[in-house]
Amino acid sequence: MLWRAVLTLLTAALLALFLLFITLPVASLFLRISPEEFLSSLTEPVVLDALSLSFVTATVSTVIVVLFGTPLALVNARRDYRGRELVDTLTDLPIVLPPAVAGLALLMAFGRRGVVGQYLDLFGIQIGFTTLAVVMAQVFVASPFYIRQARASFEAVDSLYEDAARTLGASPGTVALRITIPLAQAGLVSGAILSFARALGEFGATIMFAGNFQGRTQTMPLAIYTTMQGDMNAAISLSIILVVISFAVISAVKIVTRRKY
């Protein structure tokens, strides 16, 4: 009995130790800045520009990922075709690629002398150093988070509902829009939230492919990295905002996925 109590105590201690390891650095961010300093740095242009740019680009990226990713995930969940596994692997690839590789790859493809970029350049279209480049970097790294989740959610929908809808007069498109997507909704929403969060946190590919310019390509993570060289308070404030958003995102995903039919 005593032995058991000791074990329970030890397990609890190990758990507490690990929790401390995770929470201490995060909590330290909050302890290193006074509420007044936090609020005043929120009004600084570099912080405001980064906040609005991050939200706009992450939102646009998420919309693009959802628009392109949903049909792809649906096809891969429902149709068996040659090369499906390969398509799956390719769409998953950015999850395991280091962001630096993603940035370099985007440069090689869409840079001014890139495989595609050199032809765009002939028409005067240059992607590097623009907000579009930020969005492209975010779409590249964030899309697998949505597509994976979407495919799993579509696979979880019983195809019997789709068959029933067909016999009731629904075309394949109507079935997707009125049956499959609504039934997979919880998973799709949580996938989109995760994808948004990943886009918001994107750093490596962005700084390589889009550069670093306040108000145009300097998103929150880039602004944190830049302001750290001068205005530590701004860097901490931006970090705190990202911590709060990340916490909210995880909570949102938990709440959304709890609802089940």
């Binding site: 074990l7 840079g111 550069g211 310019f213 750290m228 060289q229 530590m232």
Partner: protein, 273 residues
């Protein structure tokens, strides 16, 4: 498979901790007579100091030199946050001064040892047709500089201020140049690749940042001396260094004939002490 009981889990954790402790002990026992010097070095010195480190280790078998290369501001922040280092090599006197004021440095050892100046670089293709700083205000030139908080970005702004004060260029020139800036980089190391890939048309960097290899990809233009800003690189031993003797010996090597030769090769101007 059986679900492991809490007891098993605890046992596994304890074993792992014990393993780590043992591993930790053996490494410290293994190297009693080898000293490791940790040198926090400004990113612009990456090439030169890597070579110097190798040359030094070749002559001093009992010393291992570990470099941490990053922007001077980042290194300063790390030192202020308690990072363990023996030597700090800064690309600007500002950050060294801050550490000295904060009591982080062994003040008597801090000394300027290197000069570096700004240069203009363009890709060898030179698609924007730039022949010198006078062309930087041409509309559509994609210019890359450093952020205002990193030394090479700070010096670039000082240089543009000097040019703005000269009636030959004027404020309008400076405004037009700043309007052409497409990216503000935090480290020089990420500037040259952007030019080499043709993403940007021009950049203002330290002369020393352009290596011999880089000259196959970019062309370097000197900036007239009257506008140029010469950076002084200080170095010094940290107050909390545990190997001050070895650190002093390494600094002497850097400033001696072998170190100076390598630094000159990389485009720096060693200041003799």
């Amino acid at each position: 498979m059986k679900v492991p009981t809490p007891a098993t889990l605890v046992a596994i954790c304890l074993l792992m901790i014990a393993g780590l402790l043992v591993a930790g002990c053996t490494t410290t026992e293994q190297a009693p007579e080898t000293t490791t010097l940790t040198v926090f070095t400004a990113a612009s010195l990456t090439g030169a100091f890597t070579d110097i480190g190798k040359a030094y280790e070749a002559q001093n078998e009992n010393v291992k030199v570990d470099f941490v290369f990053d922007g001077s501001q980042t290194l300063r922040t790390q030192i202020e946050q308690g990072a363990n280092a023996d030597i700090f090599v800064s690309a600007s006197t500002k950050h060294m001064k801050a550490l000295q004021d904060g009591g982080f440095m062994e003040n008597s050892t801090v000394t300027p040892f290197l000069g570096n100046s700004l240069a203009l670089i363009v890709p060898v293709e030179n698609q924007a047709g730039i022949a010198g700083v006078a062309d930087l205000n041409k509309p559509g030139v994609k210019l890359v500089i450093g952020t205002k908080d990193v030394p090479f970005g700070d010096y670039t702004r000082q240089m543009l201020d000097k040019m703005a004060a000269d009636p030959a260029y004027g404020q309008a020139y400076k405004d037009a140049v700043m309007k052409n800036v497409v990216s503000e980089e935090t480290a020089v190391s990420s500037v040259v690749p952007k030019l080499a890939l043709g993403e940007a048309d021009a950049a203002i960097v330290y002369k020393s940042d352009v290596s011999k290899d880089d000259l196959t990809k970019v062309t370097r233009f000197d900036i007239p001396a009257e506008y140029n800003v010469v950076a002084t690189y200080p170095l010094g031993i940290l107050a909390e260094s545990a190997s001050k003797t070895e650190a002093a010996s390494f600094i002497a090597f850097v400033r001696g004939p072998d170190g100076s030769a390598i630094l000159t090769e990389y485009g720096f101007d060693p200041i003799s002490g």
